[in-house]
C-alpha cells in the first residue's frame, strides 16, 4: 500500500514538471545541491522535504546520503534500493535482523559499506557476518555488541575483514580468546577494540591483540578476567591512547608496580571499580604514563588521593574522576599541588569532601571547566563562594543533593559563572531568586532542578527568556511550576529535546500545547500529572514527530484517543510508560502498530483485557521489553508468551498493588531526606 501511494506522488511531480518546464530548482547544479545537503544536518525531516522537491532532488538526496538508521526491518529493502551508496548503516533499531537480511545488505551495498552497527540486534548468526566479510571488503567498523549468545564464530568472521579498524564486541559473553585471536590475526589495521564484559577473554587473547594490532588506539577490556600478564604487551602498543579496564578484579598493584615500561602515547585510562588497586599501583602507573590526561579512579575504594603528592612532575593530568574514593582535605591539597593543569574534577559521592578541601582546590585551579560534587553533603555556601569566585570559566557544575547549600549560594553561580552549559541542582534548596540569577548563564544546555520544591514560574520564566540553547530540562517534582512557566520555556527554547515534568501536578494540557512547538522534543515525561489528558498527548504527538520516549504513568485522563494519535504520528516512539492510564484494548492495538515500539510498561490498565493484550503483543514485532502485571501471566496463553519471547522480547512480571493516591512531593522529599540522615 505504501509504495503505491508514493508512486502516485512521483507521477504528480512529473506532471507538474511537464506543465512548468522551467522549474527554478532545475537550474541548480549538482554541486550546489550537494552543498545544501551537506548543511541539512539538524533535522532529519529537512532532508525528507528536500527530496520531495522534485525527482532530481530525490535522486540527488539518494546519492548523497551516507548514513542511514532504518527504524524498521520491513523498510529496509526499499530503503536500500533507493540509497545505494550508503556507507554507514545503523541497524540497532532493527532488532530482528536475520542472516538473509545481512546477506542482502552485503550484496546490495558491497564495497560502499564502511560501517555497520548491529548492536542489540538479534537473530543473525556468524553466517550473516561471513557474508558481510565476503562482499563488503571495505568494511572498517562493526558493532556486534550485546549478543550474549554469539560465540567465537562471529569473531572469526570479523577476523576475515582485512580492513577492519573498529570492532565493538561488548557483552558478547561467549566470545573467548580464540575469537579475539582471530580478530587479532586477521585485522592488522585494528584501531579500536571493545571486549567489555566478554568474560571468556583472558590474558592470552588480549596479549595477542597487543602483539598483532600495533595500530591499536583504543582498547576496552572492562569486566574481563585479565590479569597483570597482558599489561606489558598492552603498554608497548605505540599508538594506544585510550585504555579502559573498568571492573577488572584481576588487576592489582603488582600489575603496575612491576611494569617495566609505561605507555607514552596513553592519554586516557579508566580503572574505575578495580577494587584491588591501591596507592602504589596508581602512583606507578602515573609515573610510567607521562602523557596521561584522563584518569578515572571511580570506586577504587582503597586508593587514597594523598598519594598524588608523590607526583611532582604530573602536570599533564587534566581530568580526574575520584567518585566514591577516600578523599580528605590534605589529599585534595596534594592533588591540587601536583596536577597543575587540572580541567575536570569529579568528587561525586566522596564523603570526605569538605569546605576546606574545595577551597584548597579552587585556590589553585582557577581554570577548572568541569566540577562534580554530587552528594558531597558537607559542603556549604563557603565552598560555593570559593568555586564561583575562582572558577569563572566553569562549563559544567553538578551538585545534586548538596543539602547544606542555601539559596544565597546558588545566586553566586548565576552571577559568576556565565559560561555554564550544564548545571545539576537536583534536590537542593533552590528558590526563585537563585533560579532567576541562573538566567545569566545564557549558554545553558542542560538544567536539572528536580526536587527543588520552592521554585515557581517566577524563577522559570527568566530561564525560558534568556537560555535559548536549552536542550534538557528536568523539573521532576518541581511542584511550583505551572503552565505559565512551561510556556515561557517552550517559547524561548526551540531546541528543547528532553523535558521531565513528572509529578508537577499543576501542569495541564496547555503546557503540552506550548511544548508541541518544540519540534525536536523527543523525551517527554509527565508521570503523575493528573490534569494532562489525551488532548495534550495528541498535540504533542502531532507536533513533536521525533518523540521517542513518553512517560504518562498515572495520567489517568489519558485514554485511547492519545494512543491513536501516537500511532498515527509518532513513528519514532520506542518507549512508553502507560501504567494507570485509561487505555483499552483498542488503544493498545493501535499502539502496537508502531513498528518502532520496543519498551512498554503497562501495569494496572483497567480497560485492557487479556485477549487485547495478547493481540497487541503479537502485533508489536519490535518489542524487547514488556512490563506487565503478574495477574496477566495466567490469562495469556503460555505458548503465546513463549512465541513472543522467542522473538526476543523479555517479560517482566510485576506484582504491585494498585495505588490509588500517591504522596505529596513535600512528604516524598522529607522521606528521602530522612533516609540519608539515618
Amino acid at each position: 500500500m505504501e509504495p503505491e501511494k508514493r508512486m502516485d506522488k512521483r507521477i504528480r511531480v512529473d506532471l507538474n514538471l511537464e506543465q512548468n518546464p522551467i522549474s527554478p530548482f532545475e537550474s541548480l547544479s549538482e554541486e550546489v545541491l550537494f552543498l545544501i545537503l551537506d548543511l541539512l544536518n539538524s533535522n532529519p525531516l529537512d532532508r525528507k522535504s528536500f527530496s520531495l522537491v522534485s525527482r532530481s532532488f530525490y535522486k540527488l538526496e539518494s546519492c548523497h546520503r551516507r548514513w542511514l538508521t532504518p527504524l524498521r526491518l520491513d523498510l529496509l529493502p526499499s530503503i536500500l534500493t533507493r540509497y545505494s551508496s550508503i556507507s554507514h548503516l545503523n541497524l540497532t533499531l532493527c532488532s530482528r535482523l536475520t542472516d538473509v537480511t545481512l546477506a542482502s545488505i552485503a550484496s546490495l551495498l558491497s564495497s560502499s559499506l564502511r560501517s555497520i552497527n548491529l548492536s542489540g540486534s538479534r537473530s543473525y548468526t556468524h553466517k550473516g557476518i561471513e557474508c558481510l566479510a565476503e562482499k563488503c571488503f571495505n568494511l572498517e567498523e562493526i558493532d556486534v555488541s550485546i549478543r550474549v549468545d554469539l560465540g567465537d564464530e562471529v569473531a572469526a568472521a570479523i577476523g576475515k575483514m582485512v580492513k577492519m579498524e573498529r570492532v565493538n564486541m561488548g557483552r558478547c559473553k561467549k566470545v573467548t580468546d580464540l575469537g579475539i585471536g582471530c580478530i587479532a590475526a586477521g585485522c592488522p589495521n585494528l584501531k579500536l577494540l571493545c571486549v567489555k564484559g566478554c568474560v571468556g577473554v583472558t590474558d592470552l587473547g588480549v596479549k595477542l591483540v597487543a602483539v598483532k594490532c600495533r595500530k591499536l588506539q583504543s582498547l576496552d577490556v572492562s569486566f574481563t578476567m585479565i590479569t597483570k600478564k597482558c599489561l606489558p604487551a598492552i603498554m608497548q602498543l605505540p599508538n594506544l591512547e585510550e585504555f579502559c579496564m573498568t571492573g577488572c578484579l584481576g588487576i592489582d598493584n603488582k600489575a603496575f608496580v612491576n611494569l617495566k615500561q609505561g605507555c607514552n602515547s596513553l592519554q586516557a585510562l579508566d580503572m574505575s571499580n578495580c577494587e584491588h588497586m591501591t596507592d602504589s599501583g596508581v602512583l606507578s602507573i602515573l609515573q610510567k604514563c607521562p602523557n596521561l590526561y584522563h584518569l578515572n579512579l571511580a570506586s577504587c575504594s582503597s586508593v587514597n588521593v594523598s598519594i598524588l603528592s608523590g607526583l611532582k612532575s604530573m602536570c599533564k593530568l587534566g581530568s580526574i574522576k575520584l567518585d566514591g574514593c577516600k578523599v580528605t582535605a590534605s589529599g585534595l591539597k596534594s592533588l591540587s599541588n601536583s596536577c597543575i593543569s587540572l580541567k575536570e574534577l569529579s568528587l561525586s559521592k566522596c564523603p570526605g569532601v569538605t569546605d576546606e578541601g574545595i577551597s584548597v582546590i579552587m585556590a589553585k585551579h582557577k581554570d577548572l571547566v568541569k566540577l562534580d560534587v554530587t552528594c558531597c553533603r558537607y559542603i556549604t555556601d563557603e565552598s560555593l563562594s570559593a568555586i564561583t569566585s575562582s572558577c569563572t570559566s566553569l562549563v559544567s557544575l553538578r551538585m545534586e543533593s548538596c543539602t547544606k547549600l542555601s539559596s544565597e549560594g546558588f545566586r553566586l553561580i548565576g552571577q559568576h559563572c556565565p559560561k555554564l552549559e550544564e548545571l545539576d541542582l537536583t534536590d537542593n534548596d533552590l528558590d526563585d531568586e537563585g533560579l532567576r540569577s541562573l538566567a545569566n548563564c545564557h549558554n545553558l544546555v542542560s538544567l536539572k532542578i528536580g526536587i527543588c520544591l520552592r521554585i515557581t514560574d517566577n524563577g522559570l520564566i527568566p530561564i525560558g527568556q534568556s537560555c535559548p540553547r536549552l536542550r534538557e530540562l528536568d523539573l521532576y517534582r518541581a511542584i511550583g511550576i505551572t503552565d505559565k512557566g512551561v510556556s515561557a520555556i517552550a517559547d524561548g527554547c526551540p531546541h528543547l529535546e528532553m523535558i521531565n515534568m513528572a509529578y508537577c501536578t499543576n501542569i495541564s494540557d496547555e503546557s503540552l500545547k506550548f511544548l508541541s512547538k518544540c519540534s525536536k522534543l523527543c523525551i517527554v515525561e509527565i508521570r503523575g500529572c493528573l490534569q494532562v489528558s489525551s488532548v495534550g498527548i495528541s498535540v504533542i504527538a502531532a507536533g513533536c514527530r521525533l518523540l521517542s520516549k513518553l512517560d504518562v504513568k498515572k495520567c489517568c485522563e489519558v485514554n485511547d484517543a492519545a494512543m491513536f494519535s501516537l500511532a498515527r504520528y509518532s513513528h519514532n516512539l520506542c518507549q512508553i510508560h502507560l501504567s494507570y492510564c485509561s487505555v483499552t484494548d483498542a488503544g493498545l492495538l493501535a499502539l502496537a502498530c508502531l513498528g518502532s515500539l520496543r519498551n512498554v510498561t503497562m501495569l494496572h490498565l483497567s480497560g485492557v483485557s487479556p485477549k487485547g493484550l495478547a493481540t497487541a503483543l503479537l502485533m508489536c514485532h519490535g518489542l524487547t521489553k514488556v512490563k506487565m502485571h503478574s495477574s496477566f501471566k495466567s490469562s495469556i496463553p503460555r505458548a503465546l508468551i513463549e512465541h513472543v519471547e522467542s522473538r526476543g522480547c523479555s517479560f517482566h512480571w510485576m506484582y504491585k498493588p494498585f495505588q490509588v493516591d500517591f504522596e505529596s512531593s513535600e512528604l516524598w522529599k522529607q522521606q528521602s531526606h530522612d533516609l540519608f540522615v539515618e
Binding site: 551516507r66 585471536g181 487485547g612
Partner: protein, 505 residues
C-alpha cells in the same frame, strides 16, 4: 653370665646409649611404616621395663626399638632375640649351634674365595670393563663383612664360658662386654684389635666402611635417609617418574656413591625386581630374595627378606647410583659431565627412551612413537585432545602454545573447534542459509521472504485468535496491514544526530 650379657646388655643399650641414639631418632626415624617386627620387639622390650615412668619409658622404648632395629640389620638379632625370648634362661653354650655357625662361616668363606678366584680368572675381561670389577669387588666386600659379623657373633656366644681366661688376655673382648659400647662399636673395636686377621686392601675398605658407619651413627645429621630409600627399586614408584630431575638436583660429590652399570641386555630384560647391591633384575621377587641370600647372611633373616626395600635401617647399603651403558651418553660414567641415574627404573627408562627404537605407536594419531610403554599410555590419554588448532593445521595441547604460535607467524589464526561451529550453526534454518543466499542475492524480490517470519507470526496469531470477537473492532486485519497512515513518514530516522552527517566517504 646371663647377667652380663642379658639384662645389663639391654640396660646399656637403652640407658647409656640414649644420648647417642636420640639424635638419630629425632632426625630421621619417624617413619610410620616401621615394620612389624620392630613393633613386636618393642612390645617385647616393653615387658622388661615395667618400672619406668610413662614418658621416660616411651622415649626409652623408642630408643630400644631403634636399637633393636639396628641390631637386627646387623644380624645380631637372632642371638638377642633368643636371649630375650627365653626370659634370661641359663645360657648354656650349645656346641651344635656353634658347629652349624662355623660350617656356615666356612661355606661363606668358600664363596668369597670362589668369587675372588673368578675375579682373578676374568681379570683380562674386567680390564676393559672396570665397572664389572667394581661390582664384583663390592660383592666380595659385602660377603666378607657378613662373614666377619657372623664370626663375631659366633665368638660372642662362646664368651661366657671362657670369660675369665679370655677377658684377662684380650682387651678387645673386655670391650665387647663393656656396657659402654653398642654393637657397632663393638665390631669396630674388635676389628681394630684384630688387625692381623686380614691385612689386604679389601679389609681396609671394610674398615673404612665401618668407620664411616660409626661416624654416621655419631653424627647429629645422618645422611639423608631418603637417598637410601630412593636407591632401592621400590615397586610403588611411579613408572613414569622422570629419570632426570632428581639426580640432577642432588649433586652428590663424585666418589661418594657407588656407580653401577648394567648391561644392555639386563636393562632391556622385562624385570621388575632389582637387587639393590648389584642391580641384577628378576622377574619374581622370590628369585630376588634367593639372590639376595648370596649377598650375605643379613638378607637371610625373614624380616630382611620380607621387607627388603622398606627397611629404613638398611644403612649397610652404600649410596648407589647407576650409569647408562651407552658410551658417550651424559648418563654414562665415562662422560665428562657424568650425571648418574638414581634408580634402576631410571636406567631402564632412560636407556629405552634415549638409545632404543621407538616401537610403540599411538593407535589414535599413528604419528607419535614411544619406546616406553608407559609413555605411550600417557600420550594416549591426551591424544586427540589437541583441541587448540591453528589455521595452518598445527595442533597444540595448550592454548598458550597456540597463541604463542599465532603471535609468531603472520597470517596464522586460531582455528575454531569444528563441533562448536556446527553446534552454533543449528540456529534457525541455517542449513538452508547457503541456498537461500543464492536465491536472494542481489534482488529484493524476496522481500516477503525477509519478513516471512513476521507474516507467519501474524498468521499464527490470527489462527490462534480466530474465534475472538473484538466488539466494534473486528477489523483486526487492518492492523495487520498497517491500516494507519504510514505513508506520512516512510523513513523515520533516529534523531540522535548520528545519521545526519553526510558527504564524507
Amino acid at each position: 653370665m646371663k647377667q652380663i650379657i642379658g639384662e645389663p646388655g639391654i640396660d646399656l643399650s637403652s640407658d647409656s646409649k640414649m644420648d647417642l641414639k636420640l639424635t638419630r631418632n629425632s632426625e630421621s626415624f619417624h617413619k610410620p611404616n616401621s615394620s612389624n617386627h620392630n613393633l613386636n620387639s618393642f612390645n617385647q622390650a616393653s615387658q622388661y621395663f615395667p618400672n619406668l615412668s610413662p614418658t621416660k619409658f616411651l622415649s626409652r622404648a623408642e630408643n630400644l626399638q631403634q636399637n633393636l632395629k639396628t641390631k637386627s640389620t646387623n644380624s645380631f638379632e637372632p642371638n638377642l632375640n633368643s636371649g630375650m625370648a627365653t626370659q634370661n634362661p641359663p645360657l648354656d653354650w650349645d656346641p651344635h649351634a656353634m658347629l652349624s655357625n662355623l660350617s656356615f662361616l666356612e661355606q661363606k668363606i668358600h664363596e668369597v674365595q670362589s668369587l675372588v678366584q673368578s675375579i682373578i680368572d676374568q681379570q683380562a675381561e674386567f680390564s676393559s670393563r672396570p665397572s664389572e670389577l667394581a661390582t664384583r669387588q663390592q660383592l666380595a666386600t659385602a660377603d666378607l663383612t657378613c662373614t666377619i659379623i657372623q664370626l663375631i657373633s659366633t665368638a660372642g656366644s662362646l664368651l661366657p664360658s671362657i670369660k675369665n681366661t679370655l677377658l684377662s688376655n684380650n682387651p678387645a673382648l673386655r670391650q665387647l662386654v663393656n656396657p659402654d659400647f653398642n654393637n657397632n662399636l663393638k665390631c669396630e673395636g674388635l676389628i681394630r684389635n684384630f688387625p692381623e686377621t686380614a691385612r689386604n686392601s679389601e679389609y681396609e675398605d671394610l674398615l673404612r666402611n665401618l668407620d664411616n658407619e660409626a661416624d654416621w651413627m655419631k653424627e647429629p645429621n645422618p645422611p639423608p635417609q631418603s637417598d637410601i630409600v630412593d636407591a632401592n627399586p621400590i615397586d610403588e614408584h611411579d613408572l613414569k617418574e622422570s629419570d632426570d630431575g632428581d639426580a640432577e638436583r642432588e649433586h652428590l660429590p663424585p666418589g661418594s656413591y657407588i656407580v653401577l652399570q648394567l648391561e644392555k641386555e639386563e636393562i632391556l630384560a622385562p624385570h621388575t625386581h632389582f637387587c639393590v647391591i648389584c642391580g641384577k633384575g628378576f622377574k619374581r621377587d622370590a628369585n630376588l630374595r634367593m639372590h639376595m641370600r648370596g649377598h650375605g647372611d643379613e638378607y637371610k633373616t625373614p624380616a630382611a627378606l620380607a621387607k627388603p626395600s622398606k627397611e629404613p635401617g638398611s644403612d649397610a647399603h652404600p649410596v648407589t647410583r647407576y650409569s647408562c651403558p651407552f658410551v658417550g651418553c651424559k648418563r654414562n660414567k665415562e662422560h665428562k659431565k657424568f650425571q648418574p641415574l638414581k634408580t634402576i627404573l631410571c636406567v631402564k627408562n632412560h636407556y629405552k627412551r634415549s638409545h632404543c627404537d621407538k616401537s610403540y605407536t599411538c593407535s589414535r594419531c599413528h604419528a607419535k612413537k614411544f619406546s616406553v610403554i608407559a609413555d605411550l599410555k600417557t600420550h594416549e590419554k591426551h591424544c586427540g585432545r589437541d583441541k587448540w588448532q591453528c589455521s595452518c593445521g598445527t595442533t597444540f595441547s595448550r592454548k598458550d602454545k597456540l597463541f604463542g604460535h599465532v603471535a609468531l607467524f603472520q597470517g596464522h589464526t586460531p582455528a575454531l573447534p569444528m563441533d562448536e561451529v556446527k553446534a552454533s550453526g543449528s540456529g534457525q534454518g541455517n542449513d538452508d542459509m547457503t541456498e537461500d543466499l543464492g536465491v536472494y542475492n542481489g534482488n529484493f524480490a524476496s522481500e516477503e521472504c525477509l519478513t516471512s517470519m513476521d507474516v507467519k507470526g501474524i498468521d499464527e496469531s490470527r489462527a490462534y485468535f480466530s474465534p475472538m470477537n473484538f466488539d466494534g473492532f473486528g477489523a483486526l486485519d487492518e492492523f495487520g496491514r498497517g491500516g494507519f497512515d504510514l505513508e506520512d513518514n516512510p523513513f523515520a530516522f533516529i534523531p540522535s544526530g548520528f545519521g545526519q552527517r553526510s558527504g564524507d566517504s
